[in-house]
Symmetry: none
Subunit: 251 residues, 2 copies
DNA sequence: TTCGAAACGTTGTCAGACAACATTTCGAGT
DNA sequence: ACTCGAAATGTTGTCTGACAACGTTTCGAA
């Protein structure tokens, strides 16, 4: 473990240090809880400044490999590598997820988004409403101009999630939206405009927004349900398979 | 957007900045590729030094939300989240300091698990029931022997998710369960046995199982709701804050 | 008009210092 | 001799200032 001049292959020095540090941890198979060297000694070992060491450790910290305690030191984390969730998607066909998977993911989305709409109706502030209104207006413009608005479509759903004032739900929604951004493309394509799919989706968005604006939780949930069912149909899925809580929505 | 008025109780300043930055990114403009403010301007906005900003950005970089190009600036990543979703950042302090975060995660769990129980009731096969019954029996044994059964508790919830025959829901449940395995420990500790928390949780598990066994979707959802509310109470959280669809469960 | 070099802005790295916190050591008091 | 609190020491967290490496823009000369 030395600071060989070959470390320039990665333009960022801190990245190289982080990589070597992580390799060193795993290769030394340090059990969880063991303390790793102090920043100063690491500086000497790698021959870099403390800022670089700190950035490298910061990366490992974000990765969940290590934790730090001020005044005490840095330690390898309890459960390294178990801190993230990723949807199975074939790296080869990175843009397209398989049909069965997409249906499954859509159902998961359904569970989260309907609940999020309901809670957003109960907790939304004036700011939240304004943010949603702005995105909605942008989509309306796109509808008139017959242009693409996939990003705003995504942003609208994230805005709903933000209105729940639950950061985790907002982050999950952003995560799911990113996975689906390409699957929303057909709605806003020129063909989508021509066939009325875009107008249909926009009307559903407005209905959700109005329910949240009225603080009508039940209506918000049902509007979100309707929107997701329609969105699934637009994608050629069969929503009847997973729109399970119909008993409650119709009640 | 200024950060100074809110006195940050989080021990690490960079953590607070990273969180606010991430929230700001998701709220403001979700479009990928947009450049975010320079480090210097962020320093002024947040009222912190550049080192803190750099550490915060480093974390977002490790999370995959942003990328940086030397000499050019920092940009939100092409794929925000880059296909992975992370819940708890710092497993060490998660239970004590970031109680608000845990409450948020619990609400997300609530949304998914109640829907999963409902769908499991509609789709479960005999095999699914048998798997759940086996796990339940193991927990019953542990209850009699007053020993730990956190793993089986986890497995039971995963078994429910598997009974939905939705791979994504099952995987998400497994992911969340891994995050929460330590938070379930108090229930199955010796103190948990003594105070009846373990017996209480087991009774709730049985109720969920029976509803799924009867294919009673509504009862399954309500039993799952009740279980999660109780679990939150056992953790010292306030479930009233997020048990939003009480109107439906109690009717 | 075109092209190249200088100027400027931004991120990457370095160095030193102090603050906040944890642990250890040691001395005063009993 | 023992206990307990305070000081000393070590570690991470934050601040400040500076320079290097790199991109982008601007502007002057051919």
């Amino acid at each position: 473990m030395n600071a060989s001049p070959t470390a320039k292959r990665t333009s960022r020095l801190s990245d190289a240090v982080a990589e070597q540090l992580e390799r060193w941890i795993t290769e030394q198979h340090l059990t969880s809880g063991t303390q790793l060297p102090t920043e100063k000694s690491l500086c000497e070992r790698f021959g870099v400044s403390r800022a670089v060491i700190r950035e490298a450790i910061s990366r490992l910290k974000a990765d969940g490999c290590v934790t730090t305690r001020q005044g005490s030191g840095a330690f390898v984390a309890a459960r390294p590598g178990q801190g993230s969730f990723r949807l199975v998607r074939d790296p080869e066909h990175s843009s397209s997820i398989m049909a069965g998977e997409i249906s499954d993911i859509f159902e998961l989305r359904y569970l989260v988004e309907t609940g999020a709409a309901e809670r957003a109706a109960l907790r939304r502030t004036a700011e939240d409403l304004e943010r949603m209104r702005a995105v909605l207006a942008r989509m309306q413009d796109a509808l008139v101009a017959q242009v693409d608005a996939v990003g705003d479509d995504d942003a609208f759903h994230v805005a709903i999630a933000i209105a729940t004032h639950n950061l985790q739900i907002a982050r999950f929604q952003a995560f799911m939206g990113a996975q689906f951004s390409d699957s929303r493309a057909p709605t806003w394509s020129s063909d989508g405009h021509r066939s009325g799919r875009a107008r249909e989706a926009q009307a559903e968005h407005v209905r959700i927004f109005e329910a949240i604006s009225r603080s009508d939780a039940k209506a918000a949930r049902e509007a979100a349900q309707a929107h997701l069912v329609s969105a699934a149909r637009r994608l050629g899925l069969d929503p009847l398979l997973w729109a399970g809580d119909k008993t409650e929505s119709t009640r």
